[in-house]
């Protein structure tokens, strides 16, 4: 159990879910993959059962499955198959003993289906699964579980439902008592009785299932990373901008799979404060602060470039108050624009952040504040 079985296989990129008997493997010459086929120190402590021998067999087969999923050689796959078939036989026998047909009519058909599932269809990870069991049909006040069912998640037709009669409840209670396992937290007697078998057999699929989940987690983490980058790097958007962007990419966000951030940002009536340079203005007011609005704009945040149609406003003595032009956004932070006015007194402007490029931002900003106070 404690032997750390770690394989470092070069030249294999994505092997984790390669079907056991499938010889075709996607490869990437530049990557190596480390696969840990170790159960961890406390693993079995969390799986108390009286079916210890069965559990030990399941542990060994689980490790083999984990290693063989790497498709090292066809012969090793065959070896695992033989051991898996043996485990399935023993496990099925134990199951039939715990839940006999005499009390749970036809239940052996389900254990037979399970046996065939894990031994016959080796090319699908979903087949490395357990029989599932749960109480159903909770009714009344106070509530009572009326039914208990066994099933294979992969096969809807496999479901076997049983009314929880006193006879069946007594049978399950007897299994628990005979097992001498401390009462489990949660579950009704038949669930706990089934749990003894489930905890014994579960190790055969644990490592493989764990890798499926770990790989899935990596994919989600990648999306989380994309969102993190978006939040860190992209231009600030007002709620209206965010709404506009969401509406524009509605197909992406309402799709039935998880996605990353929008590829571009849209801006709609986005308020700005700009530092405007108007060469034709009177001396002393050539450079001044104006408020502006980006009527509509787009920003490719990944490449750090965007543009907007912008108007600026400020009451001026000798020039029109309003001018309209274009703004260019650089590195998601700096904006520079050109404004046209009716009388030809055009101007350039940049946002306050761009003051950094010309010197100390605070100093410039303070000067501007002093100038208008």
């Amino acid at each position: 159990m404690d032997n750390k079985l770690t394989l470092i296989i070069s030249a294999i990129a994505f092997l984790s879910f390669t079907p056991l008997s499938n010889a075709e493997v996607e490869t990437d010459e530049n990557k190596s993959v480390t696969i840990d086929c170790n159960y961890g120190e406390d693993y079995l402590k969390n799986l108390p059962t009286n079916l210890v021998e069965l559990q030990q067999k399941a542990v060994k087969v689980g490790q083999k499955i984990c290693l063989s999923s790497l498709m090292i050689s066809p012969s090793e796959s065959i070896s695992v198959s033989a051991e898996l078939i043996y485990l399935a036989k023993v496990a099925r026998k134990e199951f039939d003993k715990l839940f006999p047909d005499a009390i749970f009519q036809d239940i052996s058909k389900l254990s037979e289906s399970w046996f065939h599932q894990i031994t016959n269809k080796k090319n699908d990870y979903r087949n490395f699964a357990l029989i599932e069991a749960t109480k159903t049909k909770i009714e009344g006040m106070p509530p009572r579980a009326k039914e208990f069912e066994f099933e294979l998640y992969s096969d809807t037709n496999s479901i076997k439902k049983y009314t929880l009669t006193e006879k069946r409840k007594d049978h399950c209670r007897m299994i628990i008592e005979n097992a001498s396992i401390p009462p489990l937290s949660g579950g009704q007697d038949c669930e706990n009785a089934f749990g003894l078998w489930g905890k014994a057999v579960s190790p055969f699929q644990y490592l493989y299932t764990n890798r499926v989940l770990e790989e899935n987690g990596k994919k989600i983490t990648k999306l989380q990373g994309q969102w993190k980058t978006f939040i860190k790097d992209s231009r600030y958007q007002t709620p209206l901008d965010v709404w506009a962007t969401t509406a524009w990419y509605s197909d992406q966000f309402k799709s039935h799979h998880l996605t990353g951030p929008p590829p571009t940002q849209l801006f709609l009536f986005h308020p700005v404060v700009v530092y405007e340079h108007l060469p034709d203005a009177d001396k002393g007011s050539k450079e001044d602060v104006s408020i502006g609005i980006e009527w509509v704009g787009v920003n490719w945040w990944r490449s750090g470039f965007g543009l907007s149609v912008t108007s600026v406003y400020k009451d001026r003595k000798n020039q029109p108050s309003v001018g309209t032009g274009a703004t260019f956004h650089i590195k998601n932070k700096y904006s520079i624009g050109y404004i046209y006015r009716d009388d030809g007194d055009n101007s350039i402007f940049f946002n306050i952040d761009l003051l950094e490029w010309f010197g100390d931002k605070d100093d410039k900003y303070n000067k501007y504040k002093v100038s208008i106070e």
């Binding site: 989940l213 989600i220 600030y236 408020i291 400020k314 009451d315």
Partner: protein
Amino acid sequence: MSKPIVLVIHGMGSHEPGDLKKQISEGLNEAAQNFGLNDFDINEKVEFFQFNYSTYLDEIRQRDANHASSIAEHLKLLQGHGLGENIVTKLTKFFADFDEDDMLYTHWMDVVYYGLMFWGEKIRVDFAKKINDVMIEANKGHRDVHIIAHSLGTAVAHDTLAKLFRKDADIISEVPGLDIAKFKIKSLWTVANVSRLLNLLNDIADPNKSIVNAIDGDGCSKYLVNVRNIFDPFTWVKQYNRDEGKYQLLEVDTVRHWNTHDIKEYMATPQVSSYIFAYILGIELSDSQWNAGITKHAETSINKPVEELKVAFEDLQNKPDTVDKIEALEQMFTSAKEFKQRMEEIIEETDNG
């Protein structure tokens, strides 16, 4: 550890990490005490995991408020220097409104941020990671995973599960996904379900038809319980009622406090707690325990017949169903506001009477 795992996700408003777990625990422990279950502590029976997204929504709200106040600050400076007083006052008020600190405002903004903006997808991705992490944990000990979602959390949970679970998931692709032929949530408890209202806003998957159900072979859950208080105004608009598969509707009508939307209040009711005890913990109450629980809970409820309460809120409950996003949102929040006012008056009246 063999305890079942219970993943909880909160609703609208600000929640400190750990708050929801505490509220749920307190509600269930109170109910257990009323039933006469001695030395009962739900924290010893299950292992709670919590997903918090309100901290993130608070950050976004704060960032928007900061931006708005920064613009407002500039506007003040410009008053008399290129901008007239009138326009400055109007614009400043507009931007200042973003910083309003009001419970209903926060609730309203949470719904807007989640339902109408891409921030909802960021939250779903984070919640999907949490579900995946919890599934990994459960796989270690062959444990069951249950989810309890409250209010806006029911929409987050629904939308995330609808995007994460699927039939025939392609595990070779870059798209995350869990195949329902292999993975399932043991039970999903939606308390004060607003997922249909949110679906009107984000159009992800119709909660009445999605994979988030407990139909054999078709759903991502083995058991689905929808819980609503008939006097919870947040459940009146676009009501959820998917009656298929292993679905259970638990309707309660007890009122102890004006805030009938409160998760702790829901958990403390005999109906809800007894179903959680029966399904998640396997504890089935005797008739005498049940009767004791009912009596003790009723002692703390307001002394007003249910039928009278129904009449008092009839007009708010029976508003016509709408498919208009804004109208539905308005309906929910105006009903909630009106409900609070009327209920406070009723409680005051019964206290004095």
